[in-house]
Amino acid sequence: MRYEAPSTIDQAVEILSQADGITRVLAGGTDVIVQMRSGMVEPDLVVDIKRIDAMHEITPEDGGFRVGAAVSGAQLGEHDGVKALWPGVVEATELIGSTQVQGRATMVGNLCNASPAADSVPALVTAGAIVSIVGPGGARREIPAYEVTTGPGKTSLEKGEIVESILLPARPARSGDAYLRFIPRTEMDIAVVGAGVALTLHPDGTCAEAKVALGAVAEVVLLVEPAASAIVGTRLEDEALDALAAAASAACRPIDDKRGTIEFRTKVAGVLARRAAVIAHDRARG
């Protein structure tokens, strides 16, 4: 295996795009190194992006924040600005692993590892996060977080492409977001179900806009539009929340495994979506 740690993203892209064989970008390594050690993947080349200074920055942009691809969960959790703007995204990212894992793990790694149960992804999707990608020749493109994962372990990134940053956009007044997951214990486990909700209220208190996303109930994170439309125009009365929960459960197509049966996951998805909506609603009302 070759290890490279370039100091610019253009060099990183160049090295990656010219390499043959199996390549991996190394951010926090909390997925890549586990996979290497278990023999799941044997890369010929690993490109460490942590020597690229700009990748460690969180910068305000148009009322939102641009988060560099090498920003760890711990660093994100210490940023009061991001926490105030998108508390759901920060709480979802902080759920990843232990204090030690938080010291290294990144949101971008969580997204690009493409696990259906990745905790930050439903929150990024409901936040409408935009992912900035640099490719061969310095070509840049931007796609919604929702379009990055295409299946378990699969992304829409092309050979040589690297995610440079994620833009957490500005949020209208009277907005809130939240993420909840179910795990069998209180810490250090993989989500059996995860649910993210982001919403914005009209000045009269009715819901103007909403997004609901579910993790671990399909091969990719699901953006459940019927669940969102169930609360748009309402004040999140019980009836509307029941409809949201029913729509969330209806969208699930989970697997049965030791962590949870299909029936359990389907039910819990509705319950969590409802609870997350209530928290997001409280946050939006301030």
Binding site: L26, G29, V34, R37, V46, S98, T99, V101
Partner: protein, 158 residues
């Protein structure tokens, strides 16, 4: 496979080593530098026995490459005591009998030190969450948590 030359700082002292590109920092510490205080419990980030700090951030050294240490400031369990003088956490672990077999102890101490550096007055809940990535198969955790809280109280009083 050509080896990588790494210059780093370990417990405040400059250190240099050669390592394979896919060698973990934990293997480098133990097998190349003779710093065997950091333990391997799982090798997959689950147990925390390999905990070290990198530029003051707590991480698992089993989930980091040795090559990544270049230019960084690494803190290991060997840096906790000052010569013969135990760190207050080490003393309190002994006082509270917060260890039995001891395999998890270096990781707990490094993690607890990082906690107290970051938050000198943690609540019991904060201690338990911070240490959730450190597993112990012997003590049942309670004595460890008491030892950390007692250290915080003592250091605050000092």
């Amino acid at each position: 496979m050509s080896q990588i030359h790494v210059s780093t700082t370990i417990n405040g002292d400059p250190a240099e080593f050669l390592c394979e590109p896919d060698e973990t920092l934990l293997d480098v510490l133990r097998d190349r530098l003779g710093l065997t205080g950091s333990k391997e419990g799982c090798g997959s980030g689950d147990c925390g026995a390999c905990s070290v700090t990198v530029d003051d951030r707590l991480v698992c050294s089993c989930l980091m490459l040795g090559a990544e240490a270049d230019g960084r400031d690494i803190g290991t369990i060997e840096g906790l005591a000052e010569g013969e003088h135990l760190h207050p956490l080490q003393r309190k672990f002994l006082d509270h009998a917060a260890l039995q077999c001891g395999v998890c102890t270096p990781g707990f101490l490094v993690a607890a030190k990082a906690l107290l550096d970051h938050n000198p007055d943690p609540s019991e809940t904060e201690v338990r969450y911070w240490l959730a990535g450190n597993l112990c198969r012997c003590t049942g955790y309670d004595k460890i948590v008491r030892a950390v809280l007692d250290t915080a109280a003592e250091m605050k009083g000092a």
